[in-house]
Structure formats: C-alpha cells, structure tokens
C-alpha cells in the first residue's frame, strides 16, 4: 500500500514543482523586503494549514482551536529562551511536547466519551479560549501586557537561537512548509494514513473492521498539534512579542483553517494554493484600503468570510483540484 512518491508524479508535475521551489528559493534575491515578508507569512499559513489539514482533511477531525497549539508552542519556546537561555532549537521539542500533550488531553476527553463532529470542534474552541484566559493572568510570561523576546538586529544568522535576518526566517519557513507537505503526503500513504481516511469516511465501518479508532484519532490530534507548535515557535522568534489575545484568539484559529479549505480539504497542495490566494488578496486589500484612506479593522476577516462562502458554495472540493485538472497535473484528491 505504501506507494513510492516519485513514481506517482508525472514529469509535468515534477517540472512544475521544481519551478515553484526554484522560484521560492530565489525569491530573496529578486523581491524586496516587503514582498518577502508577505511571502513569508503566506508560507507560514501554508505550514500550519498543512498541519491542520492532516487532522481535518485526512483524519476527518474538525478543530476550530488550532491557535491553542500555535500559542503553546510559541510561549513554551519563548519562555525557555528568555528565562532559562534554552535555545529554540532545543525548546522546539519542549514546545512540540507541550502542544502534543494538550492535544492528547482534548482528544482523550472527546474520543473516550464519544464527543465528535461539531461538539468536538466546540471543545477545541473552549480549550483555546480558556488557555487564552489562563495566559492573560500568567505573570511569568507577561500576562496581558505581553511577553517579549530581546530584539537584535543582526546581519548574521544563528539558526540554533533563531536570531538573524528576515532572509533566514524566510528560508526556515520555506523549509518547514515544504517539509510539512512532503511529510503529510508520505504519512497519508502509510498504513496510518489509510486508517485515518477510513475513519474520516465512516468511523463505524472503520471500527467494525477492527481499526482501533480511538488510538488513531488520538495520533492524528497529537501529530497535528506538535506540527502546529513548530509554527508557533517560528512565530514567537520572528515577531519577538506574544500577547494572549493575539496568539490564542479565535480569529487566529480561523485564519489557520481558511487556506486549506479554500485550497482543498484533504489535498496535499491545497493549503499552499489557499495560503497564496488569501495572502495575496489580504495584502492587496490592506494596501488598497490604506491608499483609499479607509479605516479597515475587520475588513480582512469579512473578505475571508465571503471567499469561504463562495468556495463552499461553488467549489466545495477547493480550488486546487480544479486548478490541477485544468493544468493537467495528476492529483490525489478527496473524492466525494
């Protein structure tokens, strides 16, 4: 059942993928600082979208509280760095462990007691929300006044401490996004990936076949949470400041899921396509409204909402399957 990734890709796919990778690798030499920061955020959303997609698109478990894992990852690595001088290269593992543990607790509570679907999604929101409140009163990491990492304007890059230029951060997130894509794709082809898809399609039938549904749903949550936490570590060291409302807020969780839904749930390239679309639209909109001199709090969210509605109404499978067919790429998509 485990198929070779390379044999599945046609030459056309390979040429397209190579071109895209080369373009993204070359970007820092070609585009300006501003555009680079836009692509960087797009890649960040492609990365966390991929992590969320593993849980929802492949294993069929809807989480609306993924900001929880971003936040836990961010705060864990940042606190270890500020308070104990632990470099993020090591703090990263603690961050993944903390997020995985949180995911395991949520998963255990939900799956042990048969909470699924919308109720499971509500549980994930609840956990993200009360963690936000908890961190708002957590003085050790700054509570509501925020937690700050020492800012250094460096021209050299230090990967172990994640201190360096924006170009370094760009390559870090590019590597993460590409790595996540390959990782999720490979994982989906393993026995585990097939279990997940079976559970997504029909949990009762999966159980009747002897699949340990509880264990594999737990694994999906834990792996997705740990992956998402890595995105949080990146965010903490890139922005150097963390505020509970900003990190754990429900709007953060929603932002994470927009890209994979627009791009195509359960497709591997969907989160990337979705992230580029909303990234470009979002930035364009901000610039346009600023140029027009309009105060625009919330307009981005409004536009995301409209796009989501349109996608769900017109192309429920997402944009990527559509684009891929048009351009003649082979695609393993989620068939309805």
């Amino acid at each position: 059942m485990i198929r070779n990734l390379a044999t599945e890709l046609s030459t056309r796919d390979a040429v397209a993928a190579t071109t895209l990778v080369l373009l993204l690798v070359a970007a820092p030499f070609v585009v300006g600082d501003y555009l680079l920061s836009v692509i960087l955020i797009i890649l960040y959303f492609a990365y966390v979208g991929q992590a969320w997609n593993l849980m929802m698109g492949i294993a069929g478990q809807l989480s609306l509280g993924h900001a929880l894992y971003v936040g836990l990852g961010a705060y864990t690595a940042a606190a270890l760095f500020v308070h104990f001088d632990v470099p993020p290269a090591i703090g990263l593992f603690a961050a993944m462990a903390v997020a995985a543990l949180a995911g395991a607790v949520i998963g255990f509570l939900a799956f042990r007691f048969g909470i699924s679907g919308v109720y499971f999604a509500l549980l994930t929101i609840a956990f993200a929300e009360f963690t936000r409140i908890l961190f708002s009163h957590f003085d050790w990491v700054g509570a509501t006044s925020g937690f700050f990492l020492p800012v250094e304007n460096r021209t050299s890059s230090d990967l172990v401490n994640l201190r360096g230029t924006s170009v370094m951060f760009y390559y870090v997130i590019l590597t993460l996004a590409a790595g996540a894509l390959v990782f999720v794709r490979l994982l989906a082809g393993t026995r585990l990936g097939y279990y997940w898809r079976a559970i997504r399609e029909d949990q009762i039938a999966a159980q009747a076949l002897g699949i340990n549904v509880f264990r594999y749903k737990m694994l999906a949550v834990v792996i997705s949470a740990a992956m998402t936490a890595v995105g949080g570590v990146f965010l903490a060291f890139y922005y150097n400041n963390l505020f509970p409302t900003d990190v754990f807020g429900i709007h953060r969780s929603i932002e994470i899921i927009v890209a994979p839904i627009i791009g195509g749930l359960g497709t591997y390239f969907g989160p990337v396509v979705g992230a580029f679309l909303i990234g470009i639209l979002g930035e364009g909109l901000t610039n346009a409204t600023e140029a027009a001199g309009i105060q625009t709090a919330g307009i981005k969210q409004l536009v995301y909402g409209v796009i989501l509605l349109l996608i769900i109404k017109l192309v429920p499978g997402g944009l990527w399957p559509l684009i891929a067919r048009r351009l003649g790429f082979s695609i393993k998509e989620r068939r309805k």
Partner: protein
C-alpha cells in the same frame, strides 16, 4: 463456538437487551429475527465490542470476550458486515479491500484472500480502481462482504444484508452467505426478512422487545403459528 449468556444492555434508561442468551455452533448459520427495535443490532454491536453490556457474558471458543474493544474482537476472528453497506465512498474498491486486511491475523494472507474475494465477486475485480461510492447498492454490499472476508474471520455477523436491495440482489447475497457457510464460515444473520433468513438458517432466535421470545430450528420456526402470524403475515 460463540456463546452469549444472560446479556443485558441499556442505552441510558432504555433497556435494549434483557437477559438474552444464544449460541452459535461451529459451521452453522444462526438467524436472529425480530421487528424493528427488537434489539437485533444491539446484540450484534455488543458482541462486536461496540457497546458495553451491563450484564452477562460473551464467550468465543472458550475465551470470554465480554467488554473487549472492537479491534480485539476482530483480531480473534469475529467479523462483522455492518448495517447499511458502510463502504468508504471516496476510497477505491481495492483500497477498501486492503483496509479489511489490516488485522494482524490477516496480513500474511492478503494476496490469497484478495484472490478469493475477486473469485467470489468478479465485479469487484473489474471495478478495483473505482471509488466505492460509485458502485451500485448490490456491488457495495458485495464490497462490504469482501472487505470483511479480507480479515480472515471464522465467524461473520451480517446485520441486515438485504436492507434496501432489489429482490434479485437479495437472493444473490443470501446465496453468497450460504456458499461462504458451505466453505466453513460460521454465520450470524440478522434480518428483517424473516422468511428468507429462517429458510437458510440451521437455528433461529426470535427477539421481541430486547428479550429472546422463541428459539428453534429454522424450519420449526417457519412453521410456528406465532411466527407466521407476527412476522410472515400469514
């Protein structure tokens, strides 16, 4: 082979099974019949480890399996074809079958079992690359049975295999069940189609409101006046 003794099961306040006992001998077809809501599916689900009984014991080949989780029950050799042909619609026919073979007991024999399923259901071989959701109702039922066979069960519990199928397809499914039984599989057959299932069963049990109301050989039950009146409308 399978022995259920004094089994009780409740969903909250609703008593689904009350002191139910029945037995399946090696190589036998046992029919469990009864009206909607009589507790047939609950009984299957309790044996399969998908519901936890409140009281009673389930013993399979001398091992007590009461309260075992479903994956362990499958691993010991009890297969289940669930109600409503629950295939994985977006996975291909072959992927569906492969998923049936993921039990530890069945991994080594996967190729042999796949051959066997394809011989039994040539339609599935023809459509192996097709998404299961695009199959007809009868083909999906064949796939559900084939997928169960991939797990090398020794006992299969069929839950309403005729539900929603055309009469000719129902005949075909029952013929398949008889053939599997002739090849050595033991069968528990839960059916609303009382006449057909009692005809092919060695033993029959009639469930009424969660209790065992009657038991006897398939032929005896078919000739029983109460059964004829209540279930056959004669």
């Amino acid at each position: 082979m399978l022995k259920v003794a004094n089994l009780s099961l409740a969903y909250g306040d609703a008593q689904a099974l009350d002191d139910v006992s029945f037995e399946v001998a090696e190589g036998e077809i046992v029919a469990l019949v009864g009206a909607n809501g009589a507790g047939k599916s609950s009984l299957i689900r309790a044996i399969a480890g998908m519901e936890r009984p409140a009281a009673g014991t389930i013993t399979y080949r001398g091992t007590e399996i009461t309260g075992w989780p479903s994956h362990k029950v499958c691993e010991i050799g009890i297969g289940q074809v669930a109600e409503g042909r629950q295939v994985f619609p977006s996975l291909t026919v072959l992927e569906n079958l492969e998923l049936g073979a993921m039990l530890r007991r069945a991994r080594a024999g996967e190729a042999r079992n796949l051959d066997r399923v394809y011989t039994l259901f040539p339609r599935l071989a023809e459509r192996r690359g097709q998404a299961a959701g695009t199959l007809s109702g009868g083909e999906q039922q064949m796939l559900a049975i084939g997928r169960c066979l991939m797990g090398e069960p020794e006992l299969i519990m069929f839950d309403e295999p005729s539900l929603g199928l055309a009469p000719t397809i129902v005949q075909e499914v029952l013929k398949t069940i008889r053939q599997l039984n002739a090849d050595g599989l033991s069968v528990v057959l839960v059916e609303q189609n009382v006449a057909l299932s009692l005809k092919i069963a060695g033993h029959g049990y009639v469930l009424e409101n969660g209790r065992m109301a009657m038991t006897g050989s398939g032929a005896d039950l078919l000739n029983d006046d109460r059964v004829r009146q209540a279930y056959l409308g004669l």
